[in-house]
């Protein structure tokens, strides 16, 4: 039988020509674009010389030496460093979508610096790296602890990373809203700005990046062994756990060093290795080399774009983090089409151990939830702080309090119900316990439209915003459908498509935050779910919509039970799989859009409510839907009440509270998840 294989000519696989060509084009393009505005003032030779000297008599030359040249150098340096870190991360986790961004390291670093600025300014002055590294380690530790027992499959890791990123982002935001005056310039810094005014940061950064890069390259051989998978690697004598730990530490150090100096430069660490791999870098050595090179080129290009946008725009600063996210999104999409057989990604073979809490009767759990919901309603309507301490509003006076407390409470509960239902639908149809409307980018689509409306300065009122957000959600959904149609709406592709949408939303957010001012705070309030904006008519309209959709849901309970058995089994049972997925997707999008308008795109309710229903022993679809809806309503009802009273007479956005509480619950639940 070996005779056949000998017939294949033994030829050394060669480096595909696309790789060096693309890298060269990228570099040439980025350098030329970056230098273009200077050609009018300096000749190319003088421009080149700006990297080491300047002519004190020529203002342009001074400017080039102290502003342009260090900016270009630092972009290339950071790009190379992040590209290398990304490639190494992908190698150790055997996960083609792992990167410092998707693992939450950058968000962690940012969180560390925010906390440092607020509570330990002395420490920050001593060394910004320290707090950033601590934050980054915390984030990646969380992600790894969360996913280790869940089989560490690529999509799960990315989702856990996103949850951690969201969560840390929400905490950051809570600080900003409460102590905004302290952290104003963290806005810009957090969005990643490479603006330089001398060579000092570069001089400080390059030895560190170089040292870390050398250390990573020293670990190349053990990393190569890891490619064989954990079992084979350890049977070859590699201490897999040790290597992973050591390398991850290096990655965190590299990322945190960068983040602490220039802020979050998202997605370079993901885009560069993915691009290298797509272009055919096959061996580890080639991947590391080309990832670094492509990373440098990519970031230089992104930075140039940001610079141009700042110059041509109204003068407000466009941070580089925005443009990298804009470049990162499409690359994830390309990668999505490129990794055809995601089912054979390493790490996905180990299926997670089943998570099976004891079943409980739905009547019991449901009635407890309804009772709690009623109690919340009564307390929220009746018991509130006033100028002279706490007061109780009797039932007979509710009609007077209604206009202040009623619509927002009703809307919050309904949004929770909608998110609970949407989350259950999405988790069931993707067969992934970490999926949710927030993760699928449907909420993000609505948010992007809102950002655009605010940026354009148009005042179209609440109704217009509502319509716009619904349109955005529908557009996001349409895009998802287009993307996922090729894969028959299969779970993983859907989630990754959502990830790409999230990236776009992220870019918009960063842009607005960097522009600062009233626009930013107005948008932030909406983003984090300010229920006080809801009018009575809107709340009642929402009620009608949710009731209508709930009736439709009765039709899909049985197909939804069958879908997780896989496309093959489902169609073997006579289910029109593609059509059914489309219907479910539409329902989920409608639910999400209606909730997003009220509570903003960033609550965790769609993720948590279905999970909570499971923990409460509701394993079948119908029961999970009911209990998830009730749990979602309860969560946001309580969040709305708390948001009114915690910082009375001020208000916190309810969605932010829900995200904070929900995030903690989710992280805790997930870590239990594996142990159960």
């Amino acid at each position: 039988m070996y005779a056949e294989s000998a017939a294949i000519p033994a030829r050394q696989p060669v480096l595909p020509p696309g790789l060096p060509i693309t890298a060269t084009l990228l570099w040439m393009g980025a350098l030329l674009a970056s230098a273009a505005p200077w050609f009018g003032e300096l000749d190319p030779g003088a421009l080149l010389a700006a990297f080491w000297t300047f002519d004190a008599g020529d203002y342009s030359s001074v400017l080039a030496h102290y502003s342009w040249a260090p900016r270009v150098s630092i972009a290339i340096l950071i790009g190379c460093g992040l590209g290398l870190a990304g490639a190494v991360t992908q190698q150790i986790l055997g996960n083609p979508l792992a990167s410092p961004t998707t693992l939450g390291v950058e968000a962690g670093g940012q969180f560390g610096v925010t906390v440092g600025t607020m509570f330990f300014p002395g420490l920050l002055a001593f060394s910004p790296d320290l707090v950033a590294v601590a934050g980054g380690l915390m984030a990646i530790g969380l992600v790894i602890a969360l996913t280790w027992r869940l089989g560490f499959s690529p999509v799960t890791v990315i989702l856990a990373g996103l949850v951690v990123t969201f969560f840390l982002g929400a905490v950051n935001m809570a600080f900003l809203l409460l102590k905004g005056e302290w952290l104003g310039n963290l806005f810009i810094w957090g969005a990643g700005s490479l603006v330089q005014n001398n060579w000092h940061p570069f001089m400080e950064l390059w030895p560190r990046v170089l040292a870390l890069a050398v250390l990573m390259l020293l670990l190349m051989r053990p990393l190569r062994v890891l490619q064989l998978g954990q079992t084979s690697a350890s049977s070859l004598g590699a201490k897999v756990g040790m290597i992973r730990l050591l390398t991850l530490l290096l990655v965190v150090l590299m990322t945190a060093t960068v983040v602490s100096r220039v802020g979050v430069v998202a997605f370079v660490g993901l885009a560069a290795p993915v691009l290298a791999r797509l272009l055919g870098a096959r061996t580890l050595g080639a991947r590391l080399l080309w990832s670094s090179l492509l990373g440098g080129g990519l970031l230089l290009l992104a930075d140039t774009l940001a610079h141009w946008a700042s110059t041509w725009g109204d003068g407000s600063l466009v941070p580089t983090g925005t443009t990298t996210a804009l470049i990162g999104g499409p690359i994830i999409l390309v990668a999505l089409q490129g990794f055809k057989n995601t089912h054979h990604m390493p790490g996905q073979d180990a299926s997670p151990a089943g998570f099976l809490p004891k079943r409980r009767p739905v009547m019991l759990v449901g009635s407890v939830a309804i009772t709690l919901l009623l109690v919340t309603t009564v307390i929220s309507m009746s018991w509130s702080p006033g100028l002279e301490g706490w007061s109780w509003t009797a039932f007979s006076q509710w009609h007077e309090a209604w206009v202040w407390r009623g619509p927002r409470l009703l809307a919050a509960i309904l949004a929770g119900v909608a998110l609970g239902l949407a989350g259950t639908l999405i988790q069931r149809m993707t067969g992934n316990a970490m999926a949710s409307p927030e993760m699928l980018g449907i909420s993000g689509g609505a948010a992007v439209v809102m950002v655009l409306i605010v940026l354009s300065g148009a005042d179209i009122g609440r109704a217009g915003q509502l319509g716009g957000a619904t349109l955005g959600a529908a557009a996001a959904l349409g895009l998802l459908i287009l993307l996922a149609r090729k894969h028959h709406f299969a779970g993983n592709q859907l989630l990754l498509g959502g990830l790409a949408l999230y990236v776009f939303m992220d870019a918009g957010l960063r842009l607005v935050m960097a522009s600062g001012g009233t626009v930013a705070s107005q948008l932030l309030n909406w983003m984090y779910g300010s229920t006080w904006l809801v009018s009575e008519n809107e709340a009642l309209g929402l009620l009608a919509l949710i009731l209508l959709i709930s009736a439709t849901l009765l039709l899909v309970v049985r197909p939804l039970t069958i879908l997780p058995l896989g496309e093959t089994s489902a169609s073997a049972l006579g289910l029109p799989v593609t059509k059914m997925r489309l219907v479910l997707l539409l329902l989920a999008a409608l639910l999400t859009a209606s909730a997003t308008v009220v509570i903003g795109p960033l609550s965790f309710v769609g993720l948590i409510a279905p999970h909570l229903a499971r923990v409460l022993g509701q394993q079948t679809v119908g029961r999970q839907l009911i209990v998830a809806a009730l749990a979602g309503g309860l969560l946001l009802g309580i969040a709305d009440y708390l948001s009114r009273i915690v910082v009375y007479p001020n208000q916190l956005p309810a969605g932010l509270l829900a995200a904070l509480v929900g995030g903690v619950y989710f992280l805790w639940g997930l870590s239990r998840h594996g142990r159960a």
Binding site: R558, P559, I562, A572, G574, R614
Partner: protein, 257 residues
């Protein structure tokens, strides 16, 4: 007996590779047929085409005399049940809930389950010997039990035909024999047409009425176990020198030289 499946001029190309080439074959009703062949010979592909999981590049399949593309999804599922090679995780479903899903082709998304449905579900569980596991989660069962739970789901589906893709490849000898014996019994009791992809030619000869062998996408042998269990034919199927002994009537042992 009439032909249950009638395959005519069937070809399947995937990515420019011909997996099946111009195949003509009929499957009679009530017969247990094993599909044999080495890896990549196209047997799983043939099974997928029969299960309508894969569209043929050219050619046609008739189910009970009707071109099978014209059958509705649920109607098809009432006639043909398919067990994939690697059944997916079941996400917390109990055995009974899994088996109950087999009634979907009959009841659709909204139809109520009546007495008859529940009887058939229980019957399927009894037939596969899973009574004591009926309220256990499928994920917690052993490999052999899980396989039986899926077969029970196919039984509850009340089809006239079962298509099984390597149902025993992940099982030990005891469970292999038990599963095949179960399939054999069920086929007799319920007059089912069974087409099963198998690697073990001895077990196939022991439990099946007919053996069909593929090689490089073409039919190389087709006949009763007695006809196929022959040194020359086995060598032509697997491409290695082999021998065959008949230990007792209907029990063959093949071996490699």
């Amino acid at each position: 007996m009439s032909a249950f499946f009638d395959v005519s001029n069937l070809s399947v190309h995937i990515g420019g590779m011909a997996i099946l080439r111009n195949m003509n074959l009929g499957f009679r009703e009530g017969e247990v047929t094993a599909l044999l062949g080495h890896n990549g010979s196209g047997k799983s592909t043939l099974l997928k085409v029969l299960a309508r999981q894969l569209a043929p590049s050219s050619g046609n399949v008739h189910l009970l005399g009707k071109c099978f593309n014209h059958t509705g999804a649920r109607e098809f599922a009432r006639n043909v049940g398919y067990l994939p090679q690697h059944p997916p995780g079941t996400d917390g479903l109990t055995v009974r809930e899994l088996v109950a899903l087999g009634r979907y082709p009959w009841r659709g998304p909204l139809g109520r389950y009546n007495e008859d449905d529940h009887r058939r579900i229980d019957h399927a569980i009894e037939d596969t010997g899973l009574c004591q596991f009926r309220h256990r989660s499928v994920d917690t069962l052993s490999g052999g039990e899980r396989q039986r739970a899926w077969i029970a789901m196919l039984l509850a589906q009340q089809t006239r035909c079962l298509l099984l893709d390597e149902p025993i490849s992940a099982l030990d000898v005891k469970h292999q024999v038990e599963t095949l014996r179960l399939v054999h019994h069920l086929a007799e009791d319920r007059a089912l047409t069974v087409i099963v992809v198998l690697h073990d030619v001895d077990l196939a000869a022991r439990f099946c009425d007919r053996l069909v062998a593929l090689k490089e996408g073409q039919l190389v042998a087709d006949g009763s176990p007695r006809e196929i269990m022959d040194t020359g034919i086995l060598e032509s199927i697997y491409g290695v020198p082999m021998g065959v002994m008949e230990r007792a009537p209907g029990q063959w042992v093949s071996y490699v030289h």
